[in-house]
């Protein structure tokens, strides 16, 4: 996987991690906390420190974020951690051959009630 700079992540996300005062409120109610290797507050801290690579490699963290905006809504400093997760995820899937979800897998997971919305959303989040 190609290297991605901290500046690139900040540019894509529009997030300024320096605004964070390290209260951890974003991670307090993150519904995917248990599933994620790095938690929302760690995304903010690690981007600030320029530790991008471990985040790029952490599929558990990138693909379990539900984009539910709980961290964005509750942050007292308007940091918007979800946008950092999204930026890192994009930095991965925009690279050649890094799509997380492939069309071939859809028939396996399909059931008759599954709304289109789920498939469309998953492709938006997991593939380019």
């Amino acid at each position: 996987m190609a290297q991605v700079s901290k500046e690139e992540i900040i540019r894509i996300s529009g997030v300024n991690p320096l605004k964070c005062m390290r209260c951890g409120k974003c991670s307090a109610t993150c519904p995917s906390y248990e599933e994620m290797e790095y938690h929302p507050h760690q995304f903010v801290y690690m981007v600030e420190k320029g530790e991008i690579e471990p985040l790029l490699k952490s599929a558990d963290s990138l693909y379990h974020c539900l984009s539910c905006f709980a961290c964005v809504e509750r942050c007292p400093r308007n940091v918007e951690p979800a946008k950092l997760v999204e930026a890192i995820r994009l930095a991965v899937i925009r690279q050649q051959g890094q799509n997380h979800l492939k069309p071939e897998t859809i028939p396996e997971v399909l059931d008759e009630d599954l709304p289109q919305q789920a498939i469309v959303s998953a492709f938006r989040k997991y593939s380019k």
Binding site: K19, R22, G24, K25, S27, Q42, R74, C75, P76, R77
Partner: protein, 663 residues
């Protein structure tokens, strides 16, 4: 022929770091009228001042321009130096080449060019300066303290002790403020009532102090030494001079379901009430919103039972006017409303309370007689979660950007006292940072942790979910162990941010005192003049100026009193000679100036004028009372004929400055 001296200050590297001060002195030497120009490392030092004095004498200067810091900093210093060398102080001008030049530019050529231009403007003005002599005005030897919480009480007591009369105007029926609602006070855990009520009684008994309770300031006119204040004494429907505070009316009043504000609505009071047992003045008040007699004329029980005959349903609001030499603002604070923090379920569960409510729940005079019981079911809570920084340090637009300063300590106090009284209780405190600067403060907090076993967890609570079984599911971060915690709590206590009282903003307008964006009053200098407002004669006491705990409030309250005393001991104050004057020949009598004057300094009268054709004309013209005028300049802007002008800041002088800058 003008002989002007120019003095360019380096201010160490403050100015010289970005401005080529030598080049400035050299360039200004070439200006018309300049006979002396030099630079010096510290113009405000004794040697620097001597340089100015020597030049005034040696060159017989008719004017001086000091290129230095803001006139707010050292104008008085340099004017004093000039006076001692025999130059009228109003022939000294300051060119601000620090705050308005060196501090805001990075590039030396740019800053140097601008400094030269600012110097030229000041020189152009000095050419037109005239010597001015300051008049004097008398000082009314009485002080007004607005609000009677611990800040106002301390200020009033200190002023009274120095022998000056002082009035306290308090909006509530009693003085005492927020401190009356507290249980114990950190870091020594004295009972708040035990240390406050003697001071309240002192106020009542001190013959120099008059308490206007249940009253508000509605209008302020005048200026330092001579304020004229209108005080509204709200009708309390009880004659204060007759009421003995026996309380029989409050026992018999049939209207018993009024939320009791003293206990933050956690129990009820009657429509006629005395806020609490130690109220000062201990006089009943009828709440007109809930009294049946006042609402529909049906009742009258309190009048029947009052043996002193103090009840007066016909009482009306009364306005009194009083003169003061100084005004102290002590309007205090309130916890913020929590309606934008519904993730903590304050509005959804009775068992989520604020810290101030917690004070009432642990106070012997509170709704539970000091028993810590859950508001929902009256049971003893076994797990309590304290949440810090609720609405403080918040830039999301929901709360306050600042640190409320008192919460870390009172939460440590709450946690410690809970563990002491109820050792079977688990107490958690969620914090972002624990801030305990202050004498014996950090030791106090550490005691809560080390001796009382309070669980301090670094992290914020994200959500409080009220569950069907009556418990509160608290979801939070534990940042040290990198865990997401879920705690089933019985009681959640929110350390709500504090904000200035809502009456502060309209009061500031009345006083023409400045405020910051958070509605805290601004001090004249954040470090060196912390208890004075920039508006002369207005002083600041307590949390109206910024968040403070009790020790700090009391210190500031006494400091404000010292400043007031320093003013009131003077018999006369030197006036500002830079006042307006009216050219009666140009005045057309339109009254525009009179309408805009905030000080009532302008009057109109009919005067006889000898006209060129030797006839006598009677014309209505404006004249300025120089003792009252504060030199704000509003009239000079409003005057359509150009008759009004400000001494020391005449239109000609200002235009000369503008011309010099634009040249």
């Amino acid at each position: 022929m003008q002989k002007i001296g120019v003095f360019v200050c380096h201010c160490g590297t403050n100015i010289a770091g970005t401005v080529d001060v030598h080049a400035v002195a050299e360039a200004l030497k070439e200006e018309p009228g300049v006979v002396f120009s030099a630079d010096y490392p510290y113009m405000c030092s004794e040697a620097g001042q001597n340089m100015i004095k020597d030049a005034i004498r040696d060159y017989q200067l008719t004017g001086a321009v000091i290129c230095s810091c803001s006139p707010r900093m050292h104008e008085a210093t340099f004017r004093k130096a000039a006076t001692s060398a025999g130059l009228n102080p109003y022939l000294v001008e300051i060119a601000n080449i620090r705050e308005q030049c060196s501090w805001i530019h990075k590039d030396m050529p740019t800053a140097t060019e601008k400094a030269i231009i600012l110097g030229k403007a000041a020189i152009a003005k000095v050419h037109l300066n005239a010597p001015l002599t300051a008049g004097e005005s008398p000082v009314t030897k009485r002080a007004l303290v607005i609000r009677g919480g611990i800040a106002g009480i301390q200020t009033a007591l200190d002023i009274a002790e120095a022998g000056f009369p002082v009035d306290i105007v308090e909006k509530q029926p009693t003085i005492g403020g927020k401190m009356t609602q507290l249980d114990k006070t950190f870091p020594t855990l004295d009972c708040a009532a035990c240390i406050l009520t003697p001071k309240m009684v002192d106020c009542a008994q001190n013959e120099n102090i008059k308490i206007y309770s249940y009253s508000e300031v509605t209008d302020v006119k005048g200026f330092v030494g001579n304020f004229r204040v209108t005080i509204k004494r709200k009708a309390r429907y009880v004659d204060e001079t007759k009421c003995t505070g026996c309380g029989i009316c409050t026992e018999k009043c049939p209207m018993k379901k009024v939320p009791n504000e003293f206990n933050l609505g956690m129990n009820n009071r009657t429509a006629v009430y005395i806020p609490f047992a130690q109220a000062v003045p201990k006089v009943a008040t009828i709440d007109p919103e809930h009294c049946n007699m006042l609402k529909n004329g049906k009742c009258g029980v309190c009048a029947k039972v009052c043996t002193a005959g103090a009840i007066d349903y016909k009482q009306k609001d009364e306005f009194i006017e009083q003169e003061y030499g100084a005004i102290v603002v002590a309007t205090g604070y309130n916890p913020i409303k929590l309606d934008r923090y519904d993730e903590f379920a304050y509005s959804q569960s009775k068992d989520v309370i604020t810290s101030l409510e917690f004070e009432r729940l642990t106070n012997a005079a509170g709704p539970t007689s000091g028993q810590l019981l859950r508001p929902s079911d009256g049971k003893h809570p076994h797990t309590i979660v304290f949440v810090q920084c609720v609405g403080s340090r918040d830039t999301s637009g929901c709360g306050k950007e600042y640190c409320s300063k008192i919460c870390c300590m009172y939460t440590a106090k709450h946690a410690m006292l809970t563990r002491e009284k109820y050792p079977d209780t688990d107490v958690y405190v969620f914090y972002i940072d624990v801030r305990t600067p202050g004498k014996n403060f950090d030791e106090f907090y550490r005691r809560a942790v080390e001796e009382y076993g309070v669980h301090y967890i670094k992290g914020m609570v994200g959500k409080v979910a009220p569950r069907a079984d009556g418990t509160l599911l608290v979801q939070a971060s534990d940042l040290i162990s990198n865990e997401q915690l879920k705690i089933n709590a019985d009681l959640v206590v929110l350390a709500a941010a504090i904000e200035p009282d809502k009456t502060a903003r309209p009061l500031a307008t009345m006083l023409t005192a400045s405020m910051d964006t958070n509605d805290f009053f601004t001090e004249a200098h954040p470090k060196l003049r912390p208890v004075e407002s920039p508006t002369a004669g207005i002083f600041l006491s307590g949390t109206c100026q910024g968040p403070k705990d009790i020790p700090e409030t009391v210190s500031q309250a006494s400091a404000a009193a010292a400043k007031v005393i320093g003013l009131l001991v003077k018999d006369k104050l030197t006036c500002n000679p830079c006042v307006a004057h009216s050219d009666e020949w140009m005045c057309n009598g339109c009254s525009s100036c009179e309408k805009v004057c905030p000080y009532g300094a302008i009057t109109y009268s009919d005067k006889e004028f000898k006209m060129p054709d030797r006839t006598i004309a009677i014309r209505r013209v404006a004249s300025v009372n120089e003792a009252v005028c504060q030199g704000c300049g509003a009239c000079t802007v409003a005057c359509p004929s150009g008759a009004m002008d400000l001494k020391g800041f005449s239109n000609r002088q200002i235009m000369a400055e503008v011309d010099a800058i634009c040249k």
